[in-house]
């Protein structure tokens, strides 16, 4: 099973060209409690299934984008620039 990611700029490329930026999380407000911040910094959801993630095309166009990856099989279902909503 190959692990391929569709860069919105460069097209389908091997995942080794990319840097993973982790699951998309909402940063707490500055007024948030310590517990909320600790959760944001320390913990991850580790979803089984479709997860929204940050990726960076390190060996390509050098741009950050978002991807929706099925974490159980590494199939990337959609990729898009940060501004665009998921398809």
């Amino acid at each position: 099973m190959s692990f391929v990611i569709q860069c919105p700029n460069c097209g389908s490329r091997s995942a080794y060209e990319f840097r993973f930026g982790g699951e998309v999380r909402r940063r707490p407000s500055l007024q948030a409690s310590d517990d909320e911040w600790a959760d944001y910094v320390y913990n991850r959801a580790n979803l089984n299934g479709l997860q929204q993630e940050w990726w960076y095309h390190r060996d390509g166009c050098g741009k950050w984008f978002m991807a929706e990856r099925d974490t159980t099989c590494n199939e990337v279902k959609a990729t898009y620039w940060i501004e665009e909503p998921a398809q």
């Binding site: 190959s2 080794y16 600790a38 320390y42 913990n43 991850r44 959801a45 299934g49 590494n74």
Partner: protein, 387 residues
Amino acid sequence: MAETADAVVIGGGILGVSTAYYLGKLGFGKIVLLEKQTLASGSTGKSAAVVRSFYSNEVCVQLARRAVDMFQSFNDELGEDIGFKRIGYMVITDQPKTVDRVLELHKKYGIVSAKLSAQEVKKMLPHMNVEDVVAAGYEPDSGYADPHLTVMALVQKARGLGLKTFQKRHAERINANNGKIISVDTNKGPISTPIVLNAGGPWASQVHPFPDIPLPLRLSREQDSVIEPPEAFHNNPVVSDAILGQYSRSDSGGRLLAGLGYPKEEEPCDPDYFDERSDQDFADKLAEKLVQRFPSLATAKFLHGWAGMYTITPDWHPIVGKCPGTEGYYLAVGGSGHSFKIGPPIGESLAAMIAGKEPPINISALRFERFKENQVFGSVWGPGNRA
């Protein structure tokens, strides 16, 4: 006649093998261990196998304390050399408070350790650049083991206690009836059993039989490299550099094993098809940090490198114990890059739990339910395998 067992252990890594060994020691009955490839061929064999007790939470400090004792006595107990080298462990930091917190726990559990100033570090390791180091924690009794030899020695001894191990035999399906384990289908026939331990590491999710209770595990490719340093490094302790995010330890033959540390750059991977070689990008990044810390490494030779896998849980601590809502199904998964050393003591306590006995260390803090109950682990170091 159909094959039967009192317990089937899935996974021939440190967690599966340790639990099988201690189950054998408890005289638990007929135990079968299934290994998909070969023993210690997954994350365990690729581990830097550092054995240290520098942890910032109670349960890991207790486990690590017991681990150091175990690794020091395994040569005698198991009758085989497991390659344990007591070279000491040092963490250097610019946040001295993190050291204080760990040393407090060490004091409570009788672990020998000390806080060192930058000058004291310089005296011990004159070849280290200490200009940004504010303090260090040091444990003389720690070191590293050979992960492959450790697994083989445990298996060898466990076989004498009745363990049956199969390599190139994997679980295809765990069968349960209303949450109660009944059997395991393998590529070489089914095995009836009331108890299954899933210690499948990166493959644990593939055989997990309860889709309604998904395992919160993510995988990341993780690299290590071996270099040939000048002679001054031959007796280097493990140096965990919390400032630059790298670590190194001396290895056999005067070599130095090194890797990148916290914060980890994660790299999702497919456990069946990932690049097991290390790459240039990694070597460049590591070299930059290593030379900044040890300037005389600028001329050192890069010998080789490899990549293994981390199986990471949401809070970077393993999941150990009975899977909630099921019967006879146990988990020892999600080592999160720091569970080689605590593997044997985890196996010891988990074996006791499976056998219905009082575990030597209360490991309930590692239970699966902690994520639901919001009783997760934090770490003074932040998220990562330094924990």
